[in-house]
Amino acid sequence: MALPKLQCITHALKNLSLLSHPDQRALVCVNQVRAMSRVKRRHTVPPFWLPKTTRTMYPEHMTPENEVFLKDVIEEKYSSPLKTECWERGTWAKNSMRCGLIGRKIGIYPMWTKDGTRLLTTLLQVSDNQVIKYIKPEDIVQGKRKRYRELGALVIGADHIDPRIVTKEYYSVFSEAGVMPKKKMSKFLITPNAKLSPGTPLYASHFQPGHYVDIAGITIDRGFQGVMKRWGFKGMPASHGVTKSHRRGGNIGSGGDKARVLLGTKMPGHMGRERRILRGLKVWRINTQHNVIWVHGPAVPGGVGSYVYIYDSVLPDHRHTQENHPPFPTCFQDEEEVEEELYDQELHTFREPSVQFVEK
């Protein structure tokens, strides 16, 4: 068990296939023991095997000229376009899987459709998304099913951070691709024809209005809650002799043969801060200048400012077809002209005249 911390980190990185040395990948951190009967659903601290992102800052006593010089160096280093040449772009086929995007929930506001129906939309900002790494199907952990054995993965990062404040280990993940270190990363499973070369920027126009997406995120942390808030129990009456148990759950099990509390009984406990996926949300509108996506409904997991992961919907009704599939493998916005505001056909844009009903 007594692996030095750094060694542990490198092991873990190899596990995650983020470091590339196929001969060393066989080294797997086997010392990890899980003693709990059930795996914890939430953690308040990140797992110890994840590399630390930011380093400890100490006074470096830099002169203002040096500061300016460093800034220039960073700017110069990261302003250049793709380091590697673009890979050949695949074409869409049935059962193709594209990568998703990392977005930020920035708020909720109403929109109206052309028939006057009001709907609430959630705004998701896609900020500085870039491909960091492509992992081949044979390099990732193999699944049992054939479908999963054929899938590769793209690691996508979002939101720049200052490269001066990150640790060496974390920086090395990005230096290969030649992109600025990112605040948030995620691995998206893809079919190999949807692969993108590292450094490719991804924009909100990756999706199109009218298509459907699945959105994953961490729900709002509500802390330790009682059964009324957590499970929607009714509680007990306010009067008629009830004392001290107005918000209690009541009985949790019977005696007799069972003589125990059944597993999964709804009881007080920690509520929220869990990963949840909301499936089949319609994309209503896209702003390609600010990279904002308007999706249906106010119930996207997480509070304002939290990160969410946006995927093409896997629901059978919302699968893409040959005639109607989104830009594949992604929309290369720098190469083609894209309108600033994209609207769904049914959505009322605020520049249009008021909705009117025609008398039949």
């Binding site: 109403p110 006057g116 705004l123 600010h290 304002v304 009117q356 008398e359």
Partner: protein, 300 residues
Amino acid sequence: MVMAVVAAAALRSSSTRLSRLLPGVCGEAWGHQARRGAVLRVLPFIPTQDPDVIKKMPEDFRAVYPEFLPGPKPEYRNRLREKLERQDMLARRSVMPIPEFYVGSIMAVTVADPNASGKNNRFVGICIQRGDAGLRAWFILRNVVDHQGVEIKYEMYSPLLQSIEVLRLEKRLDDELLYLRDALPIYSTFPLDMEPEVMQEGAPVPVNPIKVQLKPRPWHERWERKNLQGVMDLGLPERFYKKAKLHEKPWEKYDLMKEYRATIPEEEQADIFREISPHYPLMESTRRRGKRKRVLPSIS
């Protein structure tokens, strides 16, 4: 506590100084603040020193277009979202002008309605409440039709709205007129074919000092506890006023933190005004046109 009182006193004195500097802006804003309820509260705004912005920006902007200031809760705020929302609001205003109005103004709203004959519905009433910010902004109109009180809540930026007219532009003594529900029906009865009233361009918005007679209890709310200015003597036994006295919170007007949490900081207000200042000509022209229209019927 003493500190807070002293600070508040200093603040008040500064506000009086302000009102001397900017007559008609700060005075009324502060006078109304003590009684504000659900309505967004705003601090007096000192215009920027930028001459271009000053030229373009009307002084009473916060009072005329309050929904351009976002909700003050920090956990729901995001600058980009607010900016996009304002763009949409301006886009909608360029299609359907939304005139200046206040709680107490008498308005006519035309709405597309698939079930109405002619597919349009026009309703006249007095604005009894106004709330929310951004695209969610709404107001409630009240009227008595066939001895039946009717209230309709309209969303200002809904594309179903065909037009909003202000028939009589005025304010009342209170910031919410919800007590009209418990007043005699005569006070909220307005003819549906009411003519728009004459108003001179540039004149200040008049405040109607009318006092309303409430019906005897039971009421929807305990109006004796609301410190209403626009009602006649309620005629209640002494015990009601004693109870009301107990529920008073006279210290709240000195609560600087409460004030702070309920408002948008002044610098941010300036940013917002600066951002939409290119659109003032459009908004101001609709405002002026509305007033001139009201002059026309009297001439003919």
